[in-house]
Symmetry: none
Subunit: 227 residues, 4 copies
DNA sequence: CATGAATGAGTATTCATTCAT
DNA sequence: TATGAATGAATACTCATTCAT
């Protein structure tokens, strides 16, 4: 399996199948660029080397992307777009909220198991382009949060989830996923993300305390659990 | 006859070394370096600029640190050391496990509220020195995990915490903290970490499900909660 | 045997035995400097390293010599002075001209067998101080040529040497010695100079042609040997 | 001067490589580099200055040579190659041994009269790259010694040259030439090398002693000339 | 469109020299 | 007098970007 981000052969929803030659080349460049940036880091990636690997002249890269920076950002963007498609497709047709959540998380983690280089790109983006308002990762997260917010609001309304600010849930869940993503990758355990989905969900849903301990500690809507 | 020019014994002619001055200077450099690296990124930090800010010559920096790389790593190391001391001191004298946990987390988050630049350094370290076996952050985490592992094992034994692999708890907690740290920082909400401690702990301890929902869903020691 | 130029314990003609402390230190520095410059080259010799080797502070070197350049030149100068003394002493008391010549050449070569670093210093001097009017080597040669010129003039007068410009003889002899010196050293055959004295003299005195060939070729005072 | 660019027919889109232009540029760089290195010394030669003189950017130099060191060594190499060609051509068609010798020596000296900078480069090479196994000068000498060794061996066989180890002759001749080369150059008498050929050969062939003196001194195959 | 030669701004590091103690 | 901390000028090399062909 290639480290480079490439379309899974299965499906490419909403995209025309016959990309123009130009567009195909653009994708090839982005593929190779993602690989290169992830492997050498943004600064240490030499566009000449990238061009050589693509069997293209350096000037050609500049016909497709106006600068190294834009090339990099386009590579990140492409990764996020593919991620989005895959997650989107995962829960299609499933309506049960918690089942949807698990399916989406699984798809999400699976994507990064398959494309760990995207995680690296997120780091590089943050390290090199501190100036940008937000990182691509968070842009994506925020853009896709809406339905989940509604879902949790509904679950609270239905009495399935404790009454607490939905934002708090979103934060905790988002941070946990984010932390798991990077931690697992940095520890060199790429490939084992998907397997953690259930464990994480279990804790988020049920907490770690035993039933006996739960009843001993009071907690109220304003989170007063007492030592 | 010795080639060496012999010093008169007993005396120590010439300018004496002032170790405390040297050490103080070292700390000053590390302080300024941490800020500079965090603000401009590793690659974009010009040691000349750092030297100017410190009102010393560039060569002086090289008297204290053999290279830019070493200076950077020393700055990260210093940050982690300070963090460690602060967390260590936070729970001193408290024995109740969950109280200790909350105090430590609070101290931990507070440190980063005060020193957000260290978070940036972690990113930079990862981005620029991908080669290093582990990052300073994880080295530190791993080095200090022992007592917490024991604590959770004890809580399980006592029936306060559900029976589950301690590693799973450590992972979830660690990833949640890590994710919260970076997410909060990247979102530009530095300064608000400490306030999240309780919210996070509440979720980790009690989960988000309502009591009614909990009883509807089965979960067993091997985490089978059923959609 | 040390590579560094140091006084042979035997004799130090015309020098007072008790050098002042300052003077002794000066000599020690020059010894170490000659060694260092020869081993690393002028440019690559770090005065800090030299100072360390001497167990002295770098500033101290500057108390004895105003600059790296002057230190180097003083080291070369010292070497040449020692060479001069040794050659001078070699033919003391011998009056027969050709015997004097052989003794001097032997002493000369022997000195460089013992102190090959001086040859290196000559190279370095030429390479780094192209501006100087003449090199120390040639200064020395010229300064000591007088007696030899007289000697050859006498030999011609006496009919022992063919009638030819003395300068021509001096040139040939000087160039041959110079060439032998450097060639032997560069070829890594240090230590074998002295042994070549006789071979070289034999050729210079008698030429390489056989007697039969000599008589076939005419040569006149103006060197017309005929092809 | 033709600027004709040969386009391969068929397909080779983009700007074609112009090898002859590249090669010409290479030679120009080497020419200028030889002069620069000889005039300022290796260490003091700033490639920026060289580039300015060539009216190209510094980066261009690095397109042709990977480092300052390689540029320098290529310049020396080129010089030696030109020397070789010139000497080679000089004795073409002449068979009489001593005439060949004289022609070769003349050509050799003439080359250095015309290109004194190469002598300087030899010095610089030795001074700066002491590590290299052998210097370019000696590599060249050794590579071309064979025919001369054979020639002298033949002359001894024929009785034209005294019976002595050919190596001894080669050494003396080589050292004399080497010494003359450098001595003449260092004395600032560039341009007068060629004129010395005959004088040197006269001495090597006939020696300096008068016939009367020769018969008084015994010399045997093992060089016992007696004081 | 594609090429690749040319560009030149940008920077970490060294080390001779100075001078306060 | 000796020291050694501080200085800062000097410089090889890289590589993103341009543009003539």
């Amino acid at each position: 399996m290639s480290l480079a981000i490439s379309k899974s052969p299965g499906k490419s929803p909403g995209r025309p199948k016959d990309l123009s030659l130009t567009e195909r080349r653009r994708q090839e460049i982005l593929d190779a660029a993602a690989l290169a940036f992830a492997s050498d880091g943004y600064q240490n990636t030499d566009l000449q080397v990238l061009a050589d690997r693509l069997k293209v002249a350096k000037g050609t890269l500049y016909r497709y992307f106006p600068s190294k920076r834009e090339l990099f950002l386009a590579a990140v963007d492409r990764g996020v777009r593919l991620l989005h498609d895959q997650v989107e497709a995962s829960a299609k047709g499933v309506s049960e909220p918690l089942a949807r959540l698990e399916l989406a998380m699984t798809a999400y983690f699976k994507f990064f198991d398959d494309h760990p280089e995207l995680i690296e790109l997120f780091i590089q983006e943050r390290a090199e382009f501190r100036d940008r308002k937000t990182s691509t990762y968070f842009e994506h997260s925020d853009a896709n949060a809406g339905p989940w917010i509604e879902m949790f609001a509904g679950l609270i309304q239905d009495g399935a989830v404790r009454t607490m600010p939905v934002e708090r849930i979103m934060n905790a869940l988002g941070n946990l996923v984010y932390g798991t993503l990077f931690t697992t990758y940095f520890r060199g355990k790429s490939g084992s993300l998907e397997a953690q989905t259930r464990d994480l969900l279990d804790i988020v849903l049920f907490g770690i305390l035993s039933n006996t301990e739960r009843s001993k500690l009071q907690f109220a809507p304003d989170q007063e659990f007492a030592p």
